[in-house]
Symmetry: C2
Subunit: 189 residues, 2 copies
DNA sequence: GTCTATACAGGGATAGAC
DNA sequence: GTCTATCCCTGTATAGAC
């Protein structure tokens, strides 16, 4: 059943808003990305944004959800053999979308509040990510065993922490450092 | 030369404001810590806060600076032998000051903007921290060498990333996971 | 369903009186 | 050194036009 009429227009507007939001964040930083400015880029009023998304926080959460679908984190890990390179590829790709990294990092902090609309999102996404890592990354070296769940938390933490370092100093080599960590934890794989 | 008169009062007020700010953040979260509420705790108006610190961001940056002095990160690393345990002790201590962790994480993100008052602070503090780690932590295992600078970035990233995980889920065992990482990277130390 | 206009509460910041 | 008063901007709720 095809999408037609005003319904189709709404869907298009939604996408347009999500893209513009990410665009503004990338250019001006999360802090200065106001609903007013995003609305101006789209060519509507701030109220129009709130018509589609209930609040600013929900809008930004939706941006993150959308990118997860597009970039598709999970497919890269489906095969255990490509887990390492797939993971590094995602990190390398993040280098090219600073706005997305800024948004992700900022919401990671704000979502600590259980009342934040992204709270459940981060809980579920993180758990899913760690499960994938635990399944597809070989466990640690025999002489210093690290159980899969701990390994997953370490890798996730390092990736998130490196983004903080990279944001404040873009010369930081995120993929290189992550590769060094993974290889150090799995010398015989 | 003793501090007297109105000068002493100003210094006392400054300290009082810094403590109240951290207190409010701990109870209500960074997001809901307004100048108005902090001012109420101190017993003054928001304008008084801005008299001592130029802006809200500078006030919060000052809180972080003050805690660095009190908790004294560096002393714990002065001896190479106690580097590991000293580092873990700091992390364990952070568990008891959630407001400070929230403040640090939030400013870590905001300070990515070069115009943010905490930008230089984070650049210098991070570099100093990594230098200390690189000096006092033995380098990686022989079969998977990790140079000291990379090791320092990994440990710092993991510590910061773990704080994000812990904030959204306080059951996360930060010290335990950090210990596992350090031991895995330095099996023969 | 899509959107504008309007109004409001709250935030941080500024100027000037005391 | 501190407050009052004011200003502007933010996000948001509502009403109603199309």
């Amino acid at each position: 059943m095809a999408i037609r009429g005003s319904y189709a227009k709404g869907v298009a507007r939604r996408e347009e808003i999500l893209e513009s939001a990410l665009d503004v964040i990338g250019r001006k930083g999360y802090q200065n990305a106001s609903l007013k400015e995003i609305a101006e880029v789209v060519g509507v009023t701030p109220a129009a944004l709130l018509h589609y998304f209930g609040s600013k926080e929900e809008l930004f959460t939706a941006v993150l959800r959308k990118r997860d679908e597009l970039d598709g984190l999970d497919p890269a890990f489906l095969d255990a053999d490509g887990a390492r390179d797939g993971f590094l590829q995602v990190i390398r790709h993040n280098t090219e979308v600073p706005g997305l990294v800024a948004l992700f990092s900022r919401l990671s902090v704000d979502a600590a509040d259980p009342a934040h609309p992204a709270h459940e999102y981060f809980l579920e996404r993180s758990e899913r990510l760690r499960a994938t890592i635990a399944e597809n990354f070989p466990s640690g070296p025999r002489h210093a065993p690290v159980d899969p769940e701990t390994l997953a938390r370490i890798i996730q933490a390092a990736a998130d922490g490196l983004q903080l370092q990279w944001m404040i100093d873009p010369t930081v080599d995120m993929p290189g450092i992550m590769a060094a960590l993974i290889d150090a934890l799995q010398p015989e794989s």
